[in-house]
Each structure stands twice: as C-alpha cells, then as structure tokens.
Amino acid sequence: MSLRALLEIRLLPAILVAAIVIILPLFFPSAYYYRIGALVFIFALAVVGLNLLMGFAGQVSLGHAGFLGIGAYSVAIGPVHFGAPSWLCLFVGAILSGAVAFAVGRPILKLKGHYLAVATLGFGLLVAIVLTNEAGWTGGPDGMNVPALTLFGWRVHGSDAWYWIAGATFVGGFLLALNLMESPTGRALQAIHDSEIAARVLGIDVARKKLTIFIISAMYASVAGSFLALFNGLITPDVAGFLGSIELVAMVVLGGMGSIFGSLVGAAVLVVLPQVLTIFHEYEQALLGLIVMVFMIFLRQGIVPSVTVALAGWRK
C-alpha cells in the first residue's frame, strides 16, 4: 500500500502528461493539428530543460537557443557531409552540446544575475554567427536541407509520426526532470536557488551543481533542436538566434518558473497563440505581445503556479 501510494504521488504528473499526449489527437479536426502538437512537444522539451536551470537552480540563460542550434545542425551536417545516420547524429549532437556547456559553463556560471544573463546572451549570438558564417558546412544564412530520420528502415515523415515521437520523448524528458527534482541533486539545486551560502555550508559544491544542471539543460535543448530540424526538413541559423532564446525564456516564465508541467503550458501557449492570431493579420504580433503582458500581469508567478494557488485558495 505504502509503495503504491508513493508510486501514485511521484508518477502521477508524468502519467497525466502521457494521457494528454494520447488523448489530444481525438480532438484534432485535421492533420495540421498534429503539426502544431509536435511543435508544442518539441519546444516543451527544451523548455523543461531550461526550467531546470532557471526555475529550480535559479540561473538564467539568454543563449539557450545556441544549444537548440547545435542539436539542429548536428542532424543536418552529420548526414549530409559525413553520411552518418540521423539518430546517431542526434546523440552526438546532445553530447557535443553537453561538452560545449561544460566548456562555456565553467567560466560563466561564476557570474550572477544580470552578468550571467549577458554572458549567456553572448554565447547564443556566437553560435548563431558561426552557423551563419561557416557557409561551407551550414549553407550560411539560407540554411540547409535536413535528410529525414530513418529508424530501423522506417523513414519517419508526416506530422502524425512526429507528433508521437515528440510526445513520447517529451514524456520521457518530463519524467527525468521529475525524478531529478526528487533527488539529492534536485534538492541541492533548489537550495542553491534560495541561498548559495547556506547550500555551501551544508557541503554542497555549488559550482559543480550549477555546471551539472547547465549541461543537462543544454542536452534537453539539443535534442529538441535535432527534432525541430528533422521535423521541418530545413534549418536556418535563426534557430539559434536571440529571438529563439528569448522565446524559450518567455515560455519558462509564462508557464511558471520551477513548474515542470508549466513548461508544457508555456510552450503550448506560445506555439498555439500565433497560429490562432493569424486571423488578425498585421496585428498578430501586437496582439501576441498584449496577451503575454496580460497573462503576466494577472498570473504573475506564471500560469501553472498562479492557477494552483488560486485553486487551493478557492477550495478553502
């Protein structure tokens, strides 16, 4: 009984999210919705990773699209220039992103707050510039075509196939993040967020923990970037650009800092809203901005934490 109770509490959010992935297509009126769904899960995966860094460990990154770019170009350059299988390039890209995060994170994670923000911003810009300038490898500003993913002889194409792959991977990433937060490492990260000095006098190696979570969040972004490239079949350096990084941060904050489920909500809102708002034509961007502002004014802790607090208060 106690084991079952434990299991229920711990895995409940992941089961819920899996249920959402499975049930959602029942309400899709056309294949186009699979495409939007796949994009939501791909971005949500990157946002979960960034949320571990920002929401839990309290370290900002304004350059996370850089890792999205490394993942995306890995599955483009690998197969095109080296003839390597896409799935292998996805893993290599994730490891490469982790290695880059290790090298970049060691010096810059010593910085705090705004200084860290600017340093990570610089990193993101650097990746975007390299991807733009190394035209021989990357196709330059026009980008390059990405060969389709082949798994066990099955050539993955079509929005519905990608909906299921992205959805399943998101549930996996969601579960790992959930596990992490209920572990010694997760507690240490949350402690660092609230008081670095108290964490240190309790024996936590703060620099090492920050680096660990930076690497993990980079790998989440990298996998998401690879999926994005494989799904779209075309990739340009914009994927690693400043706007991409800002969008990821906005998704984290909008959904709720430190809420893993909020990552899905934040990604869903910022992927779906622009689609809905296209009916307003030239006012699309302005309305999107306005709606995001209104969300933040009324749900200032982000959507999921604010709604949770409101529901808890209402039930009393």
Partner: protein
C-alpha cells in the same frame, strides 16, 4: 583534544584590520562563546573559520588537520557547519526539505541515478527524510514539517537553521547569534537546544549578544574588541575582568553591557 584551532588570524577590509592576530583554541565537546561590542569582528571571525573569508594571515586547524583556505563546502564535508545571523533559509522549500538538504554530505548518488530514480535513490530519499524528521523533532519543529519554510515565524526559523545544520551531523557547529531577535521564551528554547547538542559531543562555537545565555551555557568565553583579543577565560573570569567591562561601556556604552554584567 583541540578540535578547532586558529592561529594569529588576520583579515583586512579596505585597509581596516577587521581581525588582527586573533588565536583561538577550542576543546572538543565545549561550548566556546565569542563576545564583544558591535563591530568587534565576531561574525568576521566566524566567516574566517567557516571558510567564507580566506584569512590574509594565520592558519586554521580542524581536528588536527590544516584547513586554511578551504571553501565552506569542503569544510562542511569535514564536519564543520554553521548558522547565520541574518537567516539563510531555503524559503521556497518545505520545512522538512530544508532539513533534508542538511543531509547532503551523507547522500551518495550520481546524476544518472538521480535522473532515472534508481532504487538506491528511493532508499536514500527515505533515509534522508527520516533523519531530517529526527533533527526537526530535536528542535521542536516536527509538527511543522510540511509547511513552507517561508511561512514560519522568526523564532521557529532560527531553530530550523539549527536543525538543518544538525542534520549534517557536524563535529563543530558555529551558531551566529541564534537568540538575536528572540523573545525570552524562544531564547530559553535555544538554550535547551544548545545543551542537547553539546550532550551529544558536538562542539559549539557561539557568537551571541544575550549575555545571560552566554554566561549560563559557555565553558569558555573569548572577548573581542576592534578585531583583537581582549580576554579569554571561563564565564566567571571574563565577567570579573575590568578591561572587558570597559570595552563594553567605553566603546559600546549600551544597556546591553549594563545588564550583561549585573
């Protein structure tokens, strides 16, 4: 046996010698108090001993091993923990989780095990939770375990910090003004907690303004003034030391000194 020794420590801030040639030698299992007027360098001395500041000069030995220049987390893993004058609570976490973080140095897992929630992690979480509950019970906070730490009142937060440090099973515990801002009842509770800590053989280094608490509980009292050692001895010796009284009345001139030695 001397568990904690500092030899001629010195540190300067902007040319001011905040601590100037202070030596302390603390026997295992004692309550060693550091007192002195405001600005005399008490907290600076604690920050030096706990690795938050690196001394400009001098050396520190913990259990016979030279630890000068080690970082706070390295010292914590060698059994030295502390609390803070201005509280350093993990306010987004529950009371219980705050104390669970205190168990960090006893937890043995890797990042892969943590991500995959291997059985070892589940077992360890359980052991950590139980040890944290024991630590909470020791400071009388067992009933508040599931509350958000940010919702506790001041006196309870002071005890929560002590519980968190205790959970790390230190050999030396530095308490920076545990009774500051506490009412007499809360101070009495802190007094009981410190006594129970000492009973377990943990050495306590206490920085405190509440002279009644200091004089009641200490084995030795070290008096600082303007970053230098003014006197050291048993509470009785220090109380009768004329220089000490002058340092308080002359520099400080406060009611605190008046009621400290009445």
């Amino acid at each position: 046996m001397m568990i904690l020794e500092a030899d001629r420590l010195a540190i300067t801030f902007g040319g001011v010698r905040a601590i100037d040639g202070v030596s302390i030698s603390i026997a295992s299992g004692q309550v060693f108090s550091i007192i002195g007027p405001n600005g005399s360098g008490k907290t600076t001395l604690l920050n030096l001993v706990s690795g938050i500041y690196t001394p400009l000069d001098g050396s520190i030995r913990l259990a016979g091993e030279t630890v000068t220049g080690l970082a706070p987390d390295q010292l914590a893993r060698r059994g030295l923990s502390r609390t803070f004058q201005n509280l350093q609570i993990f306010s987004h976490m529950s009371v219980l989780k705050n104390v669970m973080v205190g168990r960090h140095r006893h937890e043995r897992t890797g990042i892969l095990a943590d991500l995959l929630h291997w059985p070892s992690v589940a077992r360890q979480n359980q052991a950590t939770r139980e040890a944290a509950r024991v630590a909470l019970a020791r400071v009388g906070l067992a009933d508040l375990a599931e509350r958000p730490a940010g919702s506790l009142d001041y006196g309870a937060l002071k005890r929560l910090e002590i519980a968190r440090a205790l959970a790390s099973e230190p050999t030396v515990l530095l308490l920076d003004e545990p009774a500051a801002g506490c009412n007499p009842v809360e101070t009495q509770e802190i007094d009981h907690v410190i006594r129970s800590i000492v009973k377990e053989g943990i050495t306590v280094v206490l920085v405190e303004h509440d002279m009644r608490l200091v004089m009641n509980i200490s084995d030795r009292v070290h008096v600082l003034a303007r970053g230098r050692t003014l006197a050291e001895g048993t509470p009785q010796q220090v109380r009768s030391n004329v220089e000490v009284i002058e340092a308080y009345l002359g520099v400080h001139g406060s009611q605190e000194a008046a009621h400290a030695f009445d």
